[in-house]
């Protein structure tokens, strides 16, 4: 029960916060760009999307998201949510309120994941919406007449979410540890760019910041494992770093 109360309290804090606007902006960015592309370069895209328009549209959308924007969004969200406390000097009030350290720690992590799922949900809605709007503006497209490829949409969402679990725990820990959000974002960004540079390395399935792109790659290449190797790793990273971050918080000498 006390956990639910802590989650409720946490969710008030993200209301109208930068993290909240970022999920909307992050979710809307690619669909809007696609809409503009489809509208102004219909000469190219009507042909490209003639066959399986939804499948292609969805895959292209996730492709644009997976490599960079999605991990970047996770990095920013973790930092922005914890920054709400650092920036406002409120950690001390949080820790001197009657909540267990576990409730404080896990309710914040829970809210971060709610924001991530909220962004996923919005991204899907905007992605489908941009397809429909494209067809509404230009009748030469065939979105209206083709069935939505729900299977690929669900697979992308489910597996991409698993792929970001590892990053989310590492970034949450960094964001709790480092008061200066430039530091946690900077480290995250450096690790992400490193992962993208060493993408061809045979051990890349062990590098968490590469996982979203690996997941996209697996779906794009029509591999059909329910959970890929790197996705198992993502879950393991998530568990390991969540525990590490929790005990680090619990046994910290100084709070708030």
């Amino acid at each position: 029960m006390s956990f639910i109360v802590s989650v409720q309290a946490e969710s008030i804090k993200v209301k109208r916060s930068l993290a909240f606007w970022l999920s909307i902006l992050g979710a809307g960015f690619i669909p809007v760009i696609f809409l503009l592309m489809y509208y102004f370069r219909s000469d190219v895209f009507v042909l490209k999307l003639a066959k399986d328009p939804w499948r292609n549209h969805i895959l292209h959308g996730w492709q644009a998201l997976s490599a960079f924007l999605l991990p970047m969004f996770i990095i920013l969200t973790c930092s922005l949510v914890t920054q709400i406390e650092f920036k406002n000097n409120t950690w001390k009030q949080v820790y001197s309120s009657p909540q267990t350290i576990a409730d404080i720690f896990f309710s914040k992590l829970f809210v971060i994941h709610c924001m991530i799922l909220f962004c996923f949900l919005l991204f899907n809605i905007f992605l489908l919406g941009s397809g429909l709007l494209t067809n509404f503006l230009n009748r030469k497209y065939s979105f209206f007449s083709s069935p939505v490829d729900w299977e690929i949409l669900l697979r992308m969402n489910f597996k991409s979410y698993i792929s970001i679990l590892g990053i989310s725990a590492i970034q949450y820990w960094l964001s709790l540890r480092l008061k200066n959000f430039i530091a946690s974002i900077g480290i995250g960004l450096a690790l992400l760019i490193t992962a993208l540079i060493i993408m061809d390395w045979e051990q890349i399935y062990k590098v968490p910041y590469a996982f979203p792109l690996l997941t996209f790659d697996a779906i794009f290449k029509k591999r059909h494992l329910l959970i890929e190797n790197h996705e198992w790793n993502s879950i393991l990273y998530f568990l390991a770093f969540t525990l590490l971050a929790f005990f680090d918080t619990k046994f910290r000498k100084e709070r708030g």
Partner: protein, 303 residues
């Protein structure tokens, strides 16, 4: 007064091993008191209060609040405390009501309580204004409102009047007194301004360089404060000196020295001359201010 609400024994604390920030602090806050925790900036007030709220990990000593060990009953104890440590802790992007709602949920108070505390601190009409648009005084009042949400039995306030204008200071003081009187709330309030404490505290603790120099009622403090500084003299013939100085200066012999109430520098010169003229060698002659008095100068000079 029965059992103290807060009882710490022998708190020692140091940040990263760099000197002692707290050195054997034993605080005893009686139930129903307004305990003024006084000391110059950097004396260890905030460190003590942060230890009391569990914001710093206890290194040495023990803390009992409401007669219970803090570490073992952290949640139960925190439920009965309201606190305000250093600057206001508010979510700048939220309204006054939203800020209160966060803690209303945590303290499980009824919804009406938000109106009550807003009324107490006079912030009922801030509407959709966000906390970041508040003046410092309003922020401070909203922070006090948060501290009052759970109708605490114990209020811990760290420099609550910092940054308030003279009116705000008076209002805050009256509020503290009112809570204490009407709800029997025990208040532990820190400050570096002696005057301010004298106007509201029933009990006083004075901390300096991490050590408690004084702890007692306000009356005891005032008695002590009136105790004057003294002049200490060492001579070749103490007996004769005392006879010479007794009448005019009220001198007494104590531990092989002569002690007399210190008035000013000119007095030292007169005394010295008198002794020398009577063929007594003066080995040492120095005014002794007691620590507490010097501390009062430190404390009051900030105000």
């Amino acid at each position: 007064m029965n059992q103290p609400v807060i009882q710490t024994s022998n708190l020692n604390f140091s940040f990263n091993g760099s000197g002692k920030t707290l050195d054997g602090v034993s605080l005893s806050v009686p139930q129903g008191s307004i305990y003024g925790f006084l000391g110059p900036n950097g004396a260890g007030k905030t460190t003590t209060l942060r230890l009391l709220l569990g914001l710093l990990r206890l290194q040495e000593g023990s803390i009992e609040v409401f007669g219970k060990n803090f570490l073992q009953h952290r949640i139960d104890i925190l439920k009965r405390i309201g606190s305000l440590i250093e600057q206001p802790s508010l979510y700048a992007h939220l309204t006054a009501r939203e800020n209160l709602e966060i803690y209303r949920l945590i303290y499980k108070c009824h919804k009406q309580r938000i109106n009550e505390v807003l009324h107490i601190v006079g912030l009922e009409n801030t509407g959709k204004k966000k906390a970041k648009q508040f003046s410092l005084g309003m922020k401070q009042r909203l922070s006090i409102a948060i501290a009052l949400l759970n109708e605490p039995e114990l209020l811990i306030l760290d420099e609550p009047t910092n940054g308030l204008d003279p009116n705000g200071i008076i209002e805050a003081r009256e509020l503290i007194k009112k809570l204490n009187k009407e709800h029997n709330t025990t208040v532990l309030v820190s400050s570096h301004i002696l005057n301010e404490m004298e106007r509201m505290a029933t009990h006083v603790g004075i901390i300096h360089k991490g050590k408690m120099l004084f702890q007692g009622t306000l009356n005891e403090l005032q008695q002590m404060k009136s105790g004057k500084a003294s002049l200490e003299i060492e001579t070749s013939d103490n007996l004769k000196s005392v006879q010479l100085l007794q009448q005019k200066f009220g001198a007494q012999q104590q531990d092989g020295k002569i002690i007399l109430p210190f008035r000013d520098k000119a007095q030292s010169a007169v005394v010295n001359k008198l002794l020398v003229e009577n063929d007594i060698d003066v080995y040492a002659l120095h005014p002794q201010r007691n620590d507490l008095e010097q501390l009062f100068v430190d404390i009051t000079s900030y105000s």
